[in-house]
């Protein structure tokens, strides 16, 4: 069954290309030390999020783990702001304050980028709870990897979602490895999808290298959930071509295994389908790829030329105050002037409590002024 909400397939192929080229460029920029921290690439898994997003409405909630670049891109976050986030720049999708693992884009209903394995699965249940509480027909897509399914938070969230009949699809992107530990070595079940049985929710196993299969199967589930809220679980079998993160050579698997999956490449597969059906010429494909490469290259320039997050905003993102835009400089945090001389006597300190009261409410300014966004 093909959902009426599905988006143009050529457009989605272009998105898969954008994701792939973005990740390749991110890898290069990471090696050039333009990107800090950890960086986890999505190459090989493009059909999963692209197919899933093709099945959603723009106002459906999406939340995922730390391998999150593609989820933002697929949802419509610009390559510019995605690349700028990796560079830690103020123009990034999280203002340069989240980094690779913490992409957020509220306008596109992309609710993060969460880096503690399994810890966001209850948040996904919470997003779905909010939809149901407000009697909206939004569906939440909660993505996570095969490494998350052995965390307590995962199980608690699935139980709550089953109990409360929450409109959420738990999407396990099974790429067969939790960092370097294979599913066989981590999970007591043969099939991850069988986890759903324990929580009384329908489950599916989906070929994650097939854009169409991901889109169509999720479309069916979403239609069912919109009609009558309930959770569902899908195990999407996919493969990451690169290591867990940039520092991982992936020596725990063979070249032969990788090559086997490369033959299943999701981009090649969708391209072949579209070509066979007369919907895409080689020239058109090359043009799409060229455009993706150009977009990504431009995003690197954009990131390079973007400003750092302003130092004076350092305290603006710890507490949000009623009516105050957190992105505005907090006037209460300008560093206090050091006292020039020790007061000679108590009499001379009469006004001191006011002076102290005017210092940062958040902490000890003198001790924190050394912190920089670069080091944070």
């Amino acid at each position: 069954m093909v959902s009426p909400e599905q988006r143009d397939e050529v457009e989605m192929l272009a998105m898969m290309l954008l994701i792939r080229r973005f990740e390749e460029r991110a890898s290069q920029q990471y090696q050039a030390q333009k990107i800090g921290g950890f960086c986890h690439l999505y190459i090989g898994q493009e059909a999963v999020v692209t197919g899933a997003v093709a099945a959603t409405r723009p106002d459906d909630y999406i939340i995922t783990a730390y391998r999150d670049h593609a989820h933002a891109l697929a949802r419509g976050t610009s390559a510019d702001s995605c690349m700028a986030e990796l560079f830690g720049k103020a123009t990034g999708c999280s203002r340069g304050l989240g980094g690779s693992m913490h992409y957020f884009d509220k306008a596109h209903h992309m609710y993060g980028g969460h880096a503690i394995v399994g810890a966001h699965v209850p948040l996904g249940a919470g997003l779905a709870f909010a939809s149901k509480y407000r009697k909206e027909d939004r569906v939440t897509l909660c993505f996570f990897g095969d490494g998350a399914i052995n965390q307590g938070a995962f199980h608690e969230a699935l139980n709550l979602a089953g109990l409360f009949k929450l409109p959420v699809i738990f999407i396990c992107e099974n790429n067969y490895f939790a960092m370097g530990t294979s599913v066989k070595r981590s999970t007591s079940l043969e099939q991850i999808a069988d986890r759903a049985e324990g929580y009384d929710m329908p489950s599916e196993i989906i070929d994650g290298m097939s854009f169409r299969e991901v889109r169509d199967k999720l479309s069916e589930l979403i239609a069912s959930i919109r009609k009558d809220p309930h959770p569902a679980f899908v195990e999407v079998r996919t493969y990451r071509y690169r290591g867990h993160s940039m520092s991982d050579p992936a020596s725990y698997r063979t070249k032969e295994e990788l090559e086997k999956y490369r033959l299943e490449d999701p981009i090649i597969r969708l391209r072949a389908q579209l070509t066979r059906e007369g919907k895409l010429t080689n020239e058109q494909f090359d043009a799409l790829d060229k455009k993706a490469k150009e977009t990504v290259l431009a995003s690197v320039k954009f990131a390079e030329n973007s400003p750092e997050p302003p130092m004076e905003n350092l305290y603006a993102y710890t507490y949000v105050d009623d009516g105050i835009d957190p992105q505005v400089v907090d006037p209460g945090v300008s560093p206090a002037k050091p006292r020039a001389t020790r007061p000679a006597s108590r009499a001379s300190t009469a006004g001191k409590s006011r002076e102290i009261g005017s210092q940062s409410k958040n902490g000890d300014v003198a001790d924190t002024a050394a912190a920089t966004p670069e080091s944070a």
Binding site: G98, L123, G126, E156, T318, D364
Partner: protein, 325 residues
């Protein structure tokens, strides 16, 4: 004014905020059909229904996280922990998710959530059920922590917490649920700002800083000290983060002597930070070292006599004040 219990005060706060704002709901173990493990949510299920007063399974990590997700989507959850000792099962949600979201998202997501429930040692509950968690949570940037000691503060602080756009922990005193106190009449709006201490007793010789369970102890100690002609000022901090530094510094500037009576443990406890700030900001005002009365630095023993030995008390506060000379 009228007199009600701490429990009734919390119940009124919950009812008023749930009534006022449709995005507020209460969730936790036994909050609905059982009417609350400590009967704080008595009658709320009948009044507001199961969509807003929601029982959960024993899954602190799960329902704390669910609340945070719901807050990301714009609701204002009140999450009850049966005790904050159990919040440790949800520590990751409280430390990693609720307070970090604003920074990690570059200001896109704030988390207007209230976590509430009893905190601190009660009576002979043993080591696992006796945690005073205020120093753990006050250490985390992005969280606010308040510690009401009276019915009036319980109501006023909880209502403020629910309306705050940040994650706020309301750490209640299990032993105080039946305590009575004066409070504004029903229908009169009572909001007490976070970060405002209250001077419970004026004095000139020593400042006793206290909060939560140590407030009655400090007041009792002050009465005893008065018999020895020592006039103690007693300040209930009421909120640990933000903390009313101005009230602290002004009192110390007057008395020049400080004893901090805290219900948590000594190492990296609340009093450690307060002592540091006092000596850093107004060192010259001090006529003696700052002394702290806290728990002993041991897991809580079950035995009643030993438990008493671990806990702060009025006697220990009196002794500390006298030690100041």
């Amino acid at each position: 004014m009228r007199e009600i219990t701490y429990r009734q005060a919390l119940n009124e706060a919950l009812a008023e905020e749930i009534e006022r704002d449709p995005s507020v709901f209460l969730m936790g173990e036994e909050v609905a059909e059982y009417n609350g493990a400590y009967k704080v949510s008595q009658g709320l299920l009948d009044r507001f229904g199961p969509e807003r007063i929601i029982d959960t399974p024993i899954s602190e990590n799960g329902f704390a996280g669910l609340g945070i997700g719901a807050a990301m989507a714009g609701l204002r959850p009140i999450i009850e922990f049966m005790t904050f000792s159990f919040s440790l099962v949800a520590f990751d949600q409280l430390v990693n998710n609720a307070p970090n979201m604003l920074m990690m998202s570059g200001g896109q997501f704030h988390i207007p959530i209230t976590f509430r429930g009893p905190n601190g040692p009660a009576h002979q509950l043993g080591a696992t059920h006796s945690h005073a968690t205020e120093c753990l949570y006050a250490n985390v940037p992005g969280l606010k922590v308040c510690t009401p000691a009276t019915p009036r503060d319980a109501k006023g602080l909880l209502k403020t917490a629910v309306r705050d756009n940040n994650p706020v922990l309301v750490l209640e005193c299990e032993l105080f649920y039946s305590h009575k106190g004066q409070i504004e009449d029903e229908g009169e709006e009572l909001l007490i700002p976070l970060g405002e201490a209250e001077t419970k007793r004026n004095g000139s010789d020593v400042t006793i800083l206290c909060y939560a369970q140590t407030v009655p102890m400090a007041l009792k100690a002050a009465e005893e000290l008065a018999r020895d002609k020592i006039n103690a000022e007693v300040i209930d901090l009421r909120s640990i983060k933000p903390l009313d530094w101005q009230a602290v510094f002004e009192s110390v500037t007057k008395t020049h002597h400080v004893v901090i009576a805290e219900q948590d443990r000594p190492f990296c406890g609340v009093g450690a930070e307060i002592s540091y700030r006092i000596q850093k900001e107004i060192f010259d005002e001090l006529d003696a070292p700052i002394l702290r009365v806290s728990q002993e630095d041991v897991p809580m023993p079950y035995n009643e006599t030993l438990e008493k030995a671990v806990l702060p008390s009025a006697e220990k506060i009196v002794a500390a004040v006298k030690q100041l000379g």
